[in-house]
């Protein structure tokens, strides 16, 4: 049965991933866990003071590891692809 007040629809066929900027990140890969330490953005190095949240997204065989991180001033969302080994930062 359908819920007439369905709160969210499935993602439409689109891919915003490529709009997100590649960034340099230093991270520790420890016992199956990824711990980002710092990232650089616009030539500035941001020390990660807190990993606020982490989640994953599977896209086919690719898994994106997302982190909501804080440098003590701002909150950023960065993610790592196990397929490309590239870190990106979410725009917007």
């Amino acid at each position: 049965m359908f819920n007439p007040n369905a709160r969210w629809d499935r993602p439409l066929p689109q891919n915003n991933q490529t709009c997100d900027e590649c960034i340099e990140v230093e991270a520790i890969f420890e016992k199956g866990k990824i711990i980002p330490i710092w990232f650089s953005l616009g030539g500035m190095r941001h020390e990660i003071k807190e990993i606020i949240y982490r989640w994953q997204e599977r896209k086919g065989q690719e898994v994106l590891y997302y982190f909501s991180v804080s440098d003590g001033e701002e909150v950023y969302q960065i993610y790592f692809s196990n397929k490309t080994f590239v870190w990106r930062i979410r725009n917007g």
Partner: protein, 392 residues
């Protein structure tokens, strides 16, 4: 309690996750929109701070911002919600071997006998809530009762962050002021029919006898009679493993704007049938019954299901069937706001085909599914839905 069912309902799930991910949003009215463009989408979820302004799920964002112009907005990101939902599902298995995920933010557990391990049923609720708060920084409301229906009602009674046990003997007293439409399963039409019989509040459901219910409502009447006695006629089926098979597979969309042209309606139906087909094939199931649901700004909800002789998992065939139902439902072009397709009466896929073309199409579908499974959803998709991009 002979049987103890726990219902966990996450509080403003999507909005709470967004607030946990970005603490700047915590404590603020937050709207999670179905799509990026906040002027052309509906409210997928609202934080409790936004709900205080009267903002509700399903409302247009325009209306929501009229109620609260300062509300924060984020587009829904299903990956986060699905991930957290999956993790909560895993966590719940530490409390009972019988766990069911009813939706992305609702879970049922059969906790009968588990009080011997955890001290009491109330304690199980508290421990679950505590772990979820610690691990995901969000809250959920727990309701415990002797069946699913009343466990679900109980979880709503003390929202947010509640933990409530509804004993069968206390049902009449606790629900004495509960309007009948607040009972899950009683929609607008059933409510109106009950109201016409002078039944407005839960206790008034006891006014009718079993035979009277059956005469008035048919099979649903028997369920209403059971509900009036604090029972739930539904059998409880818990799915303890990931590969348990569903009873139906469906998808629906609320559109960014009303659509009118037949080609557009068919393109959206194609998209939905493709999604349903992919899932049917992943379960290795096919379906005999197709159900089409439409929401129209002028006419409200329309829905119809139809049984077909041959079962199918073919997305194109599902589309043809949906179009047959569409022709029955709509005689002349009309504006459509939301639509959905679901497939039921499922059975395992048979590998015998009458026509060679059916076999070739099945092989092609399986090939496309395997490409999409490897490289990501929608790596290959039907050209007929390309125009949908333009409407976003």
């Amino acid at each position: 309690m002979d049987k103890a069912i726990l219902h966990l309902d996450m509080d403003a799930f999507f909005a709470s996750i967004e607030q946990a991910i970005d603490p700047r949003l915590a404590g603020r009215p937050l709207i999670v929109g179905s799509r990026e463009d906040k002027n052309r989408t509906v409210v997928a979820a609202a934080s409790y701070e936004a709900k205080a302004y009267g903002i509700e799920s399903g409302m247009s964002c325009k209306e929501a911002f009229r109620l609260c112009p300062d509300a924060e907005f984020v587009p829904a990101d299903s990956s986060k919600y699905l991930y957290v939902s999956e993790k909560i599902f895993e966590l719940l298995k530490d409390f009972s071997p019988q766990v069911e995920r009813a939706s992305v933010d609702e879970f049922y557990l059969d906790i009968t006998g588990c009080e011997r391990i955890f001290g009491s049923y109330e304690n199980i609720g508290l421990l679950i809530k505590e772990r979820i708060k610690r691990e995901f920084k969000i809250t959920g409301s727990v309701g415990i009762s002797e069946n699913r229906l009343f466990a679900k009602i109980a979880s709503k009674l003390k929202k947010p962050d509640g933990n409530f046990i509804l004993h069968k003997n206390d049902i009449q007293e606790t629900l004495k002021d509960l309007p009948v439409e607040k009972i899950p399963g009683i929609g607008r039409f059933l409510k109106e029919r009950l109201n016409r019989l002078g039944i407005f509040k839960y206790p008034e459901l006891s006014k009718l006898k079993r035979e009277e219910y059956y005469r008035e409502f048919g099979k649903i009447g028997l369920w209403l009679f059971a509900v009036s006695r604090g029972e739930d006629s539904d059998k409880i089926t818990f799915y303890s493993s990931e590969d348990s098979l569903p009873k139906s597979v469906g998808h629906s969309y609320t559109l960014p704007e009303n659509i009118y042209r037949r080609e557009e309606v068919e393109a959206w139906l194609r998209l939905l049938c493709e999604m349903v087909g992919v899932r049917l094939r992943s379960y290795k199931l096919e379906s005999k019954t197709t159900h089409l649901f439409l929401r129209m700004p002028d006419l409200g909800f329309l829905s119809k299901q139809k049984n077909f002789h041959e079962p199918t998992s073919n997305s194109k065939e599902l589309l043809l069937r949906a179009k047959v139902i569409l022709d029955i439902l709509i005689k002349k072009p009309t504006y459509i706001r939301a639509l959905g397709v679901s497939a039921s009466e499922l059975s395992p896929i048979s590998s015998s085909y009458i026509f060679d073309s059916q076999k070739r199409y099945a092989e092609l579908s399986n090939f496309i599914d395997s490409v999409n499974s490897r490289f990501g959803e929608w790596t290959i998709f039907p050209a007929s839905i390309t125009n949908i991009y333009k409407s976003i």
